[in-house]
């Protein structure tokens, strides 16, 4: 199930919230666990088994860590088991075919592919459960002895599908002793609505434009159309992903949880380093805490440090998908970050803010070319089009049509990528507090209204020719 569906908004969520608030506190975690399983099973009835196995496995690892209290060797073995076990699940379901394909190419073998569909959210929940064992081992969080509460952590439907990646220690306390309040619930409503608008009204619509450009025939390709296309993707992925995170954080608040932030206006960054402090923050935090720092971080010899960064970015790339373009995309950022760290950071700081934002944005867009196109050989073709190499016109009729048709949406996306709306909200709060409530109410109503209209339309399917 996805949040941006009529099913979630008008069936699942109202029912779950109603029951949740009718139940006594002691039963709420159990209910969250079961409703999360239902949420997951709706689209993946069989893969729920993997999640249950993963839950029991990590729950037991936690108990073992408790039993081996004081025996560091044994505890380390348990953590190693937990990490290997989770990586094995992730590796098998996400990367098996990728490994087989590359082995076949490299060794001229002919191993058959397994064709396993990817279990939704597996990249997220395996990272979460690994954090549990590690946090407990590091004594940064207590052992969870209630399996229903632990299950609620693993399967928690708000962040199950697309994050943020919530480390166990971030919500260990809330899992057992959270307090739901009206104010927190209302904050959740506002946050959820922001995410819904980003996803349904911005990402879905600008995404259509990227699909159109990808589908243009050779005769309609042009430099202009290629730029429109990749800019559309740039906004699509940001609003899609950050919108989903906003919805997750908002839902968390409605249920009494405070999840970590995941995005902080990445497209206004003044450097690539800053971009990565603002983009998918919870993934960066996870890698820093559980991989980069254990490898020695930056307190090592420069060569080793560069290797550490290389390792992090190859893994970050690969985490995004089992395909070489993602690895390439990770390495692209490795190169940019090293260049920035060792040569360019001073220069970037001296540039006017607008210029350094523009440069950073440009490199992010170039990165999305590598990210968006899975076929590695097609990536260079797309770069060729962007920069007018080969026999490609600068402008095509369709390019101008798309530009004029989508200009207002582009402007809206560009504005929504900056903190301008957040600042307006803040100013209203300080300068005209009495207008805050009516203004917010109006915006929420419009947002619910238009999101519903676009969701209903997306399933509207006129049958044009005949009926049987």
């Amino acid at each position: 199930m996805v949040f941006s569906s009529l099913l979630f908004l008008f069936c699942f969520l109202p029912v779950v919230l109603t029951i949740y608030y009718l139940l006594p506190r002691s039963l709420r975690n159990g209910f969250l666990f079961f409703s999360s399983l239902f949420f997951y099973a709706w689209g993946e009835p069989l893969y729920i088994v993997i999640m249950l196995v993963s839950t029991v496995f990590d729950y037991c690892n936690g108990l073992l860590l408790g039993r081996f209290e004081g025996n560091q060797k044994k505890q380390q073995a348990v953590v190693a088991l937990a990490v290997v076990g989770n990586l094995a699940i992730l590796g098998f379901f996400k990367y098996a075919d990728f490994v087989i394909m590359n082995t076949n190419t490299l060794l001229h073998w002919n191993l058959p592919l397994l064709n396993i569909p990817l279990p939704i959210g597996v990249s997220f929940y395996t990272f979460q459960t690994m954090s549990y064992s590690i946090d407990v081992y590091r004594k940064e969080a207590p052992i969870q002895r209630n399996i229903l509460s632990f299950g609620a952590y693993v399967a928690l439907f708000p962040q199950l599908i697309a994050g943020p990646i919530v480390r166990y220690k971030d919500i260990a306390e809330a899992l057992n002793h959270r307090v739901e309040t009206l104010n927190l619930f209302a904050q959740g409503v506002e946050r959820f609505t922001v995410g819904l608008v980003k996803k349904v009204l911005l990402a879905n619509n600008i995404g259509l434009l990227w699909d159109k450009v990808k589908g243009l025939p050779a005769s309609e390709q042009s430099v202009l159309a290629s730029w429109i296309g990749i800019l559309a993707f740039t906004f699509q992925i940001y609003f899609d992903f950050s919108g989903y995170s906003d919805m997750a954080i908002g839902l968390g608040k409605m249920l009494g949880f405070e999840f970590p932030e995941n995005f902080n206006f990445p497209y206004i960054s003044r450097s690539v380093t800053e971009f990565w402090r603002r983009w998918h923050i919870s993934l960066g935090t996870w890698f820093r805490e559980y991989v980069y720092i254990p490898l020695g971080g930056n307190r090592v010899h420069p060569a080793r440090h560069i290797f550490n960064i290389f390792a992090i970015w190859s893994l970050t790339g690969l985490w995004h998908g089992a395909s070489w373009n993602y690895v390439l995309w990770g390495l692209y950022y490795f190169v940019l970050l090293i260049a920035e760290k060792y040569f360019l950071s001073k220069l970037l700081q001296r540039l006017p803010a607008l210029l350094s934002v523009a440069i950073t944005f440009f490199f992010a867009v170039m990165g999305w070319v590598i990210f968006a196109i899975e076929d590695v050989s097609a990536i260079s073709v797309y770069f060729g089009r962007l920069f007018g190499l080969g026999q490609i016109p600068v402008v095509s009729g369709e390019g101008v049509f798309l530009l004029t048709a989508y200009l207002p949406l582009f402007l809206l996306c560009a504005l929504a990528s900056t903190p301008i709306f957040a600042k307006m909200h803040q100013r209203l709060k300080l300068e005209n507090p009495k207008w805050l409530t009516p203004a917010t109410a109006l915006v929420l109503t419009l947002a619910f209204f238009y999101s519903t209209a676009y969701l209903v339309d997306s399933t509207y399917n006129p049958f044009l020719y005949f009926r049987f």
């Binding site: 506002e190 049509f401 004029t404 805050l436 209209a453 676009y454 020719y465």
Partner: protein, 385 residues
Amino acid sequence: MQTSSTSALSKAATFLFVAFFLGGSLLNLVWPYQEFSASENRFLAKMPVFSWESLISGEFTGDFETFLTDQFPLREFWVSVKSDTERYLQKKENNGVYFAKDHSLIERFDQPDLSKSQKNLSFIAEFAERISLPVHIAWIPTATEIQKHKLPSFASPVDQAAYVQTLIQGAAGSSSYYGSEIWQGLYENAEEALYFNTDHHWTALGAFRFYQTLMPFLGYEPYSENSFQREVVNDEFYGTLDAKAGGGYAQADQIERWQLVDPTTNPSFEVLIPDSNHEGNSFFFPERLLEKDKYTYYLDGNHALTLMRNQELPQGKRLLVIKDSFSHVLAPFLAYHYAEVHLLDLRYYNRSVDEYLLEQQIDEVLVLYSTRQFSVDNHLFKISD
């Protein structure tokens, strides 16, 4: 500590959220079940029947979501809200339909699937070689070709004349192929209402302009415009494009009845539709004007076979037209010149076409498709033997 204003805000936000989504879900529960959507021209999904197998396969959950969205309260209202919003955002199109000038809607036609079209044409060529009758092969252009001036600025639809030319150049055999030369009557009168504002079909006037250019190629002298009496029989037709684009933009269309003026030259016809056991004397079906899809006024819409017999011209030729629905409004014009015009729709006709030709002693065949339908049609293989 919370100030009173934040708490008022919290109450308002929570209230709105609960009212909208919980209220919406309750409304969903009590909303009356609707079986058929007139504007979408299809049956809506029913509540799926539960079984463990369908649950495991994912079929049940998928069907349930379709059911939920199909039966969503005020569905058409929401769709029109989206359509209006797109227009205010200068989108120039919605769901593949241009908001064209003069309050008309025009369906996009950008990239015909050339290999599919060529395949379709090869079925026809094979058929034409086999049957040893004269076969004429022609296409009807859609509005994006004829009424380019009505499209939103910078729209760049496919060049349909070039598309047809490419097909003809690659075609095999000795049949007569007609390219854009038979669209002259349409091109020259492009400012007229040749296509509906709200439907993907052409109007009677459009069909007439086409008829005027086509007939000399088939060896006949067409009747002139003022030999016909035109009568508006309905002026509130909202067609398929209106449904697709979401409604509210285009002006309602008129349905016209064209008949020869001079009663002495106006022959009487027999009109037979075997699959609905219809036997009548008119090309027009006034009871269809009460329905949503008023284009079915012409020859009662889609049927496997439709036969028009000209009582005054028994010595004339017998023509078989293998066609899509664009021919429904054109066929009456043809019928004045032949002893019999048979319309055959391969989407519904599943018997052997070769046998039909023999049975009915057909003299000539006209294969006539709209360009857009031709590029997506999946039924032409049926004539390939």
